[in-house]
Symmetry: C2
Subunit: 107 residues, 2 copies
DNA sequence: TATTTATTTGAACATTCTTTCAACTGTTCA
DNA sequence: TGAACAGTTGAAAGAATGTTCAAATAAATA
């Protein structure tokens, strides 16, 4: 086959790296999840608080929290019958900040 | 209703901002698109070259290029019967780089 | 002009994703 | 103990997404 295509293939990041990268960004690719992360950027919150702040079902929020937990972006700690959620990753804030800057440049 | 939920709501980024942000990250949330962007980080390329490098249908690549064009992340310039694509956004490289660093931290 | 090559496009299909609803677990407190 | 409350879970429904295939467009060339 082509020499050039071969060269590109070898210069590209590994397949697993790319998948991980896409999976990470996928987390930020849904507005509900971005809202939840933005909430937790302000302070730690219980599931019910998040649901109220975002005008959403507790169930829907809980489902998304599970996804975010799976991606190690948030963590939940049980406190009595409530669960207090917080960001579990320093990068979250930076990634959101960077994206927001970009978006606000109007570009 | 609750004072606290109200406070959070007001401290959150605007709804449109959040949507734009999610839409931006959505572009990076698919491995095919990440691969295409990674290709174009190396050099400008024709559609057929990208397809060959990634072992994909020209059609599939073209469809994704349209999406990326819509997001103003890439641009295509017609050269005879071919179309040369390149990155159309300084942020692309930085966003990918940042994500990759994060992913490779094993976190 | 007819043919070949590069790319785009639209429809169809399968897949994945998000939300809802109802049921369930576990904790508090009367 | 049992009622109330907070959260999780699974299944179902609906929307959105990515790829394929076939057809269309447009430029180069024979």
């Amino acid at each position: 086959m082509d020499r050039s295509a071969e060269f590109i293939r070898k210069a590209l990041p590994q397949d697993e790296e790319i998948t991980d990268l896409a999976d990470l960004f996928k987390m930020f690719g849904d507005s509900t999840r971005v809202k939840i992360l933005s909430c937790l950027q302000l302070r730690t919150m219980y599931v019910g608080e998040i649901a109220e702040a975002l005008n959403m079902t507790v169930s829907a929020v809980s489902h998304q929290l599970r996804v975010l937990r799976g991606a190690k972006l948030v963590k939940g700690v049980k406190e009595g019958k409530e669960v207090r959620y917080s960001l579990d990753d320093d990068h979250v804030t930076k990634i959101l900040e960077y994206g927001l800057t970009h978006v606000n440049e109007g570009k």
